[in-house]
C-alpha cells in the first residue's frame, strides 16, 4: 500500500524551477531518505509534502487522500526540524500539547498521548522544563515527541541531527532507527549526511538540481550507482575515477596510459560502448600487499601521502600516472615513497559513459 505519492510535482520561484516534474511513491512503513547537497531541492520537496510551500503544479497524496491544497495540519503528518523549533516560552509538556489543543482534543486524551510519547522517548523527567533548560539531544527528542503525539502515519524529518555534535548524532541516529522499528510509520528523512542515509534508509533518493538521480536501496546506491554524480557523491573518501577507453567486444578491457583492466567479470547494464569511458573503483574495494596479486587485476603503485585515520589508513598513490586512493588497515606500516602492489576485482567497479555520465 502506498503511503505518500507525488505526481509530477513542479515548484517554481518566479522563473526558477526548483523541483521539476517529480514523481515519487513511498510505501507504508518505509523509511525513505532524501539525500543531496545543499540547494538540491530535498528540503523544498519535504516542505511541499508538509504543505508549508505552495506547489506550482502536480499532486500530492498522503494515505490515499489528495492533500495537494490541504493545510499542513490536515495532512496527517508530523514534522521534526533541524533547529528543533521548540516554542521557547512553553514547557516541554506545552510544546507537546500545542498541536493537540489546536485540534480541540479532550484534555484526558492529550494527557494520555503525552504520557505515551514521553515514555517512548524517555523524556518523562523533562516534561515541566522549558526548552532553554534542555541539552541539544533532549531538545531533539522533544521535537520528535511533538510529531509522535500527533499519532500520524507519516513523519517528516528535516535534517534533524545536523545541529548536534558527532557523538550525539550517532546516538540519536540509532534511536530514530529503533523508533521506526517500533512504530512502523512512514518516515521521510532529509539529510546531506550519507552515513545517516546509509544507516537509516530502506530506500535513498539522491537528488540534484530538483531531480531525483537514483531511488534505490542503500546497498544498490552504494555498489551500483546509476551515474557519475551518484557515484561521486556517495562514499567518503570518494570513488577513484580514471578516464580511458574500452576496447574489444567480448573479452573487453578498460585501457588508460599503458594499463589494461580486464572487464570480463564486469556486469555491463548497457550494450553501447562509447569511445571514452570513466572507470570508478571505491578505495575500500582495493586490496594491498600479498592478497593483491590474487585479484583479477593488480598493479604496482607509488605512495605519495599516507593519512592514518585510526581504524584505517587512507593511502594516496599514483597508478600509472593517475591519482589513486585506497584504504588499508590502520595498523599497516606503509609510508610515503614506498612502492606497493595493489589489486581489485573489476566486478566491484562502476564504469560510466564519459559523455553522458551514465552507468555502462
Amino acid at each position: 500500500m502506498t503511503s505518500v505519492s507525488i505526481r509530477d510535482l513542479t515548484l517554481k520561484f518566479g522563473s526558477l524551477e526548483v523541483l521539476k516534474s517529480l514523481n515519487l511513491d513511498i510505501d507504508e512503513g518505509e523509511f525513505l531518505v532524501l539525500l543531496g547537497p545543499s540547494g538540491c531541492g530535498k528540503s523544498t520537496l519535504l516542505n511541499c509534502i508538509a504543505g508549508l510551500l505552495d506547489i506550482s503544479d502536480g499532486q500530492i497524496f498522503i494515505g490515499g487522500n489528495n492533500v495537494t491544497w490541504a493545510e499542513p495540519s490536515e495532512r496527517g503528518i508530523g514534522m521534526v526540524f533541524q533547529s528543533y523549533a521548540l516554542y521557547p516560552q512553553m514547557s516541554v509538556e506545552g510544546n507537546l500539547a500545542f498541536g493537540l489543543k489546536n485540534a480541540r482534543m479532550p484534555k484526558d486524551e492529550i494527557a494520555k498521548r503525552i504520557a505515551r510519547a514521553a515514555e517512548v522517548l524517555q523524556i518523562e523527567p523533562l516534561l515541566q522544563r522549558k526548552p532553554a533548560q534542555l541539552s541539544g539531544g533532549q531538545r531533539q527528542r522533544v521535537a520528535i515527541g511533538r510529531a509522535l503525539v500527533r499519532d500520524v502515519d507519516v513523519f517528516l524529518f528535516d535534517e534533524p541531527l545536523s545541529n548536534l555534535d558527532a557523538k550525539l548524532r550517532a546516538e540519536l541516529r540509532v534511536e530514530i532507527k529503533r523508533l521506526h522499528h517500533r512504530l512502523k510509520n512512514t518516515m521521510i528523512y532529509v539529510t546531506h549526511d550519507q552515513i545517516e542515509a546509509l544507516t537509516l534508509a530502506d530506500r535513498i533518493a539522491i537528488m540534484r538540481n530538483g531531480i531525483i538521480q537514483q531511488l534505490d536501496s542503500p546497498h544498490e546506491i552504494y555498489n551500483r550507482p546509476v551515474n557519475l554524480y551518484v557515484a561521486g557523491f556517495m562514499g567518503s573518501p570518494g570513488m577513484n575515477f580514471i578516464e580511458g577507453e574500452i576496447s574489444g567486444a567480448g573479452e573487453s578491457s578498460f585501457n588508460f596510459a599503458s594499463t589494461q583492466i580486464p572487464l570480463s567479470r564486469y556486469p555491463f547494464v548497457r550494450d553501447d560502448r562509447p569511445d571514452k569511458a570513466i572507470f570508478g573503483i571505491r578505495p575500500e574495494h582495493v586490496s594491498c600487499g600479498p592478497a593483491a596479486s590474487d585479484e583479477p587485476f593488480s598493479a604496482d603503485v607509488e605512495i605519495e601521502v599516507v593519512e592514518p585515520m585510526g581504524a584505517d589508513t587512507l593511502v594516496w598513490a599514483v597508478l600509472d600516472g593517475k591519482e589513486f586512493r585506497f584504504r588499508v588497515d590502520g595498523q599497516s606500516p606503509l609510508h610515503a615513497g614506498q612502492t606497493v602492489r595493489i589489486g581489485f576485482d573489476p566486478a566491484k567497479a562502476s564504469i560510466f559513459d564519459a559523455a553522458r555520465e551514465l552507468r555502462l
Binding site: S5, Q59, F61, G64, N65, N66, W69
Partner: protein
C-alpha cells in the same frame, strides 16, 4: 494503486482569499501607505499649482505659487538658514559623534554612564531643548552675563538676539540634542567591526588613528550613509526647535522652511504658498533619499 486515480477532491482556493487573515491585518498599513502617504503627497503637490488661499480650490495657476515663493525674502532666508544649519549639523554631528564613539570604544570604565549622559538630550522634546538653550543664551542672564560678571566686560555672545548669527544659536541646541544619537549609531557601527581587524592592525604595527581613517571608517560606510540619511531627513523637518527658541526671530532672521509652510497654511491663510513650500521640501528630501534607496535596495531586488 488507488491514490493516483483519485481526482482532486478539494476546490482550489481562490487566490484573493488565500492568506486572508494576513491581508485583513495589513489593511491599516495599506490604507496609510496609499491614502495618507501617497494620496496626501500627491494631493499637496497637485494643489501647489492652484490659487488656494483660505480653502483649497482647484483653480490652477501654473507655477505662480513657486515664483512668489522664490521671490519671498522670508522663504529665501529660510532656505539659507536651512543650508547653513544643515551643512554645519551634518559635519559637526558626524565628526563629534564619531570621535565620541571612538573614545567610548576604547574599553573604558563607566562607558554606560558616559553614554547615558550623552544620549539623554535625545529623549527630550525639541521644545524643551529650545527653551533651555533660550535661557542659557539669554544675554541678560545667561553665558554672556556670567562671563561679563567675571570681569570681561566687553564679552559678547548673544546669538539669539543677533540676526547675523541666530542660526548658530539654534545649531548649538540642535547639536546638543542630536549628537548623542549619532554617537550611538557610530558606536554600534564600531562594535560591528570584526575584532580581528584590530588584531591584524596591531600585529602589522599600524597606529590606531591610521587604522580608524584608512580601515575602520571605509568599512563603516553603510553606517555613515544611514546616519547621513537620518540626520538629513531630520534637518529638513527642523521646526519645533526654532519655534521654541526664537519663534523665527529676531525679525525673520531664523525662519526655516518647515515654519514658513506652517505659517502660510495655518496663520496667514495662504494655503497655496504652504503647498508650494512643502513640495520644495519634499523635493529636497527626494534628492537625498532616491540615490540612497537606489544604493541600498536597487542592487538586490529580492532579499
Amino acid at each position: 494503486m488507488t491514490t493516483t486515480s483519485t481526482p482532486a477532491a478539494t476546490q482550489r482556493p481562490i487566490r484573493l482569499f488565500r492568506n486572508k487573515a494576513a491581508k485583513i491585518a495589513a489593511i491599516p498599513m495599506i490604507l496609510t501607505a496609499l491614502v495618507v502617504f501617497m494620496g496626501g503627497t500627491i494631493w499637496t503637490v497637485v494643489f501647489s499649482f492652484t490659487k488656494s488661499k483660505l480653502l483649497p480650490k482647484a483653480n490652477f495657476i501654473g507655477l505662480d505659487q513657486y515664483e512668489r515663493l522664490w521671490s519671498s525674502s522670508k522663504w529665501l532666508i529660510a532656505i539659507e538658514n536651512l543650508v547653513i544649519f544643515g551643512l554645519c549639523s551634518l559635519v559637526f554631528s558626524l565628526v563629534i559623534g564619531f570621535v565620541l564613539a571612538a573614545l567610548l570604544d576604547q574599553k573604558i570604565r563607566f562607558e554606560n554612564t558616559f553614554r547615558t549622559i550623552m544620549l539623554y538630550p535625545f529623549a527630550l522634546s525639541f521644545i524643551v531643548t529650545g527653551l533651555v538653550w533660550q535661557w542659557i543664551l539669554n544675554p541678560d542672564f545667561g553665558i554672556q552675563n556670567v562671563v561679563r560678571s567675571l570681569g570681561w566686560e566687553s564679552f559678547s555672545f548673544d546669538p539669539l538676539n543677533n540676526q547675523e548669527i541666530v542660526i548658530y544659536g539654534i545649531l548649538i541646541a540642535g547639536l546638543w540634542q542630536g549628537t548623542g544619537l549619532v554617537m550611538c549609531l557610530m558606536l554600534a557601527g564600531l562594535r560591528g567591526i570584526d575584532e580581528d581587524i584590530w588584531k591584524a592592525a596591531r600585529v602589522d604595527g599600524i597606529p590606531a588613528w591610521k587604522t580608524y581613517i584608512f580601515i575602520v571608517i571605509p568599512m563603516m560606510r553603510p553606517v555613515f550613509v544611514t546616519t547621513l540619511v537620518i540626520i538629513a531627513s531630520g534637518i529638513v523637518r527642523l521646526y519645533d526647535l526654532v519655534v521654541a527658541q526664537t519663534s523665527g526671530g529676531p525679525g525673520i532672521a531664523s525662519e526655516v522652511p518647515a515654519k514658513y509652510v506652517y505659517d502660510a497654511m495655518f496663520l496667514s491663510q495662504n494655503l497655496g504658498q504652504g503647498f508650494a513650500g512643502s513640495t520644495m521640501m519634499l523635493l529636497a528630501v527626494l534628492i537625498v533619499l532616491i540615490p540612497w534607496a537606489y544604493m541600498e535596495f536597487g542592487g538586490r531586488q529580492r532579499d
